[in-house]
């Protein structure tokens, strides 16, 4: 017997079917969204790159980098497209840039999605730990052994931009794995007004402060000092770390992972006191949020007697279009001098610069091209050409070449600074450690905290981050 077909309201069974369909849809969406979770639980660290460069494609290919927006990024793109294409005409180099403050986030949010729109990540040396631990970049150890002349480098430079676990200051562990190769070396240079303080730069930190104070007093409208104080990126943190190093302090004890009691020891407190109570009063009013561009602007407009900035960002200072110090490069150089940082209890200087790292999520053809590019880039003649194009190479022969030393008045400063460099921590927790330091140093520089309280807070909070790996809930607070 056939039942009459029911019309009108939906039957209960059909409603149930629809509800079930909706539920299945939601579950399916959930599963689809979590599709990448297949790798959950299989935390393998960084995958290995092949020892030799695989066969390269003959099809047109774009090799993408990610960096932050500053002059070297443009220089790299121009240089690579002009030179690398002579060897690989089908390859185009694209250097994608983001604002400095977004640099870490832009790379690591893509790493988190396990999909990147870049093939080579230009990581700060301190980002390496996070990227290696999460398996975001390729292990290049075998590739380096087979393709790179490791003896051509200062061992610490090679280690700083590629080694994990982190190299001890000034040394390289030859048994440690390498995850990157140097792209751009960098450190701070002291920029001083020769016309205001004389041709001879101050030799010690204390002398530098007294010279700056005298210059400020003698020249109304010109501040004694200009340096990074902002709480974005690593600005204020690098400033404190530099003074800390010069006054004999330490950032941590890497072996015991101890910060509290090390950073805020007597030397650490002395450094913070010098920075806040002796250096800060010599800076311009409202300079508490200055970073690279603002310091350069102050120098270019003749508003600072002595300034500190990254060498790689100093090229614009010699451009007469951007400066009030002269109408030609020679005139500007008549007023500006560049020197290595003054020493005090030690001669340490901050390690800057970045390395190239291959994204683990890049297609294999792109990874092969990336490895080929790195092999090409690290050759002696290419490194010299990179130096001539405005880059800062890492190979010793390129660093000592006339192409590099004559390319800019600050290049000799870099060459002299290499044996004096010290880096921060390149542990996976780096982003949080540097944020804690940045915000607290910035607070001290702007009167929101006393120097002592700020340093003790940095040490306590950073120690909390390092010790919180087994914490149940609330990580990140």
């Amino acid at each position: 017997m056939r039942h009459p077909k029911r019309t009108g309201r939906t039957s209960v069974s059909r409603r149930t079917v629809r509800l079930a369909t909706a539920a299945m849809l939601l579950v399916a969406t959930t599963l689809a969204a979590c599709g990448d979770g297949g790798d959950d639980g299989t935390k393998a660290g960084a995958p290995k790159a092949p020892a030799t460069v695989p066969e390269l494609t003959k099809d047109p290919l774009t090799l993408s980098f990610i960096w932050f927006d500053w002059p070297p990024a443009k220089a790299l793109e121009d240089f690579a497209n002009a030179e690398y294409r002579k060897e690989r005409p089908n390859a185009t180099i694209k250097v994608n840039t983001v604002p400095n403050a977004n640099w870490h986030d832009a790379m690591f949010t893509q790493f988190a999605a396990r999909k990147t729109d870049f093939d080579i990540a230009i990581l700060d040396s301190q980002h390496i730990g996070e990227a290696v631990t999460n398996g975001n970049i390729l292990d290049l150890t075998d590739f380096v052994k087979k393709n790179i002349e490791v003896d051509a480098y200062n061992p610490y430079l090679l280690a700083a931009y590629g080694q994990f676990p982190q190299a001890e200051t000034g040394k390289r562990d030859e048994n440690a794995s390498l995850y990157g190769l140097p792209l751009l070396g960098d450190t701070w240079t002291m920029i001083y007004r020769k016309d205001l303080i004389g041709d001879k730069p101050p030799q010690t930190w204390d002398e530098m402060i007294s010279v700056a104070a005298k210059c400020q007093a003698d020249n109304p409208g010109v501040s004694g000092l200009a340096f990074h104080q902002a709480n974005g990126s690593d600005a204020a943190a690098v400033t404190y770390n530099t003074v800390n190093g010069v006054y004999g302090g330490n950032l941590w004890d890497a072996k015991s992972r101890k910060i509290d009691g090390v950073l805020n020891d007597t030397a650490g407190h002395e450094a913070m006191d010098v920075l806040v109570n002796k250096m800060k009063p010599l800076t311009a009013k409202g300079s508490g949020n200055w970073f690279i561009d603002e310091v350069n602007a102050a120098v270019a407009q003749g508003k600072a007697c002595i300034a500190f900035n990254w060498i790689a960002a100093s090229g614009g200072l010699l451009d007469p279009k951007q400066s009030t110090l002269g109408t030609s490069r020679e005139q500007i150089l008549g007023k500006l001098g560049f020197a290595t940082l003054p020493t005090q209890k030690t001669n340490l200087v901050p390690l800057g610069g970045m390395g190239m790292h291959v994204s683990a999520y890049s297609p294999s053809a792109q990874q092969a091209e990336a490895l080929n590019f790195m092999r090409w880039f690290e050759q002696a003649d290419v490194q010299k050409k990179w130096a001539a194009a405005g880059g800062v190479p890492a190979r010793t022969d390129a660093l000592q070449s006339p192409e590099f030393l004559n390319a800019g008045p600050f290049n000799q400063v870099y060459a002299d600074s290499v044996p004096r460099m010290r880096d921060m921590w390149n542990v996976p927790e780096y982003a949080r450690l540097v944020d804690i330091e940045n915000t607290n140093v910035n607070a001290a520089l702007n009167g929101a905290k006393s120097p002592k309280a700020a340093l003790d807070d940095i040490a306590r909070e950073q120690q909390g981050v390092l010790d919180s790996s087994n914490r149940k809930g609330g990580g990140g607070l």
Binding site: T10, L25, L26, T29, T30, A33, D39, D40, G41, K43, A101, H104, D105, F108, T109, F111, A112, E130, T133, N134, G135, N136, A230, N231, G232, A284, K285, G286, S287, G288, N289, A297, A298, K303, P428, E429, A431, R432, D435, T439, N440, N442, A443, L445, N446, G447, A448, K449, V465, K472, G473, G474, G475, G476, L477
Partner: protein
Amino acid sequence: MSELTTDRPGQVASATPPAPGRPRRRLGDRGLAVAFISPALLLLLGMSVFPLLWALYLSFTDYSATRGGPARFVGFGNYTAILTSAQVHQRALTTLIYVVGAVTLQTVLGFAIAYLISRRTHGRGVLTTLFLVPMMLSPVVVGLFWRFMLDAQFGVVNSMLGSLGLGQVEWLTRQRTALVSLIVVDTWQWTPFIMLIALAGLTAVPKYLYEAASIDRASEWFRFRTITLPLVWPLLLIAVLFRAIEAFRLFDLVYILTSGGPGVSTETLSFHVYKVAFLGFNTGTASAYGILMVLVVIVLTQLYLRYLNKLKEG
């Protein structure tokens, strides 16, 4: 009946009944409704409901988006850690001061401007349009040009103060002035929103009420207090609700103008969530933080709406 027409012109249907077979199902009204709604519904499910449910799930785990690995269940660990964190309390206080300061200032200014505009007979449209310009700009653009204007050394604001013989003010780098600067910039951008809603309310007040008051020789203040304000008040409160919710989740201006500084003194709750989520990639904690913020907004909005309903009934 010799022939039947079909919906296809020129085609003549056969008069003979169709051969028995599978009956053709037609889409009923309900089916049609479901068909039309389902794309939007799927979009809503995929873009809003699912992420919310997923965030809710993650908020009970220690999951990290970059570290990968299994998401360990931590119960209410994230929630208790957030609710008891001194850092969070500090950001909540900053956010509260900001919301109260910005919304109060915007309401007073917005209503005052709307009241003045409503009294004009000429050029009302032009004035309204001009006042609305800041609201149409992107907050990032607004933040960037205010950052230049408020720069202590090169900014136009200090330059003007200097020409008046006043000293330089460190707008963005001192604890007190930085939060005030944020409130001023937000007020510059969003006062027009309150003004627009208030203007709509003022325009809707029946003219005969004012005429009757004039006949009774009621003063300007009396008319404002007993006619204008009571009639515009409910609409104004809705505008305040919208602005308060917006101000509560402020991120962009803080990011551009102060980066939360000096120190963390202008870090709002949203800015802090961003740091937890993207600096350390503590996705579980950030999810719990976000869920708690949504809950706070929902609860406060409910209380506010109840008050509004009571006001309406009264």
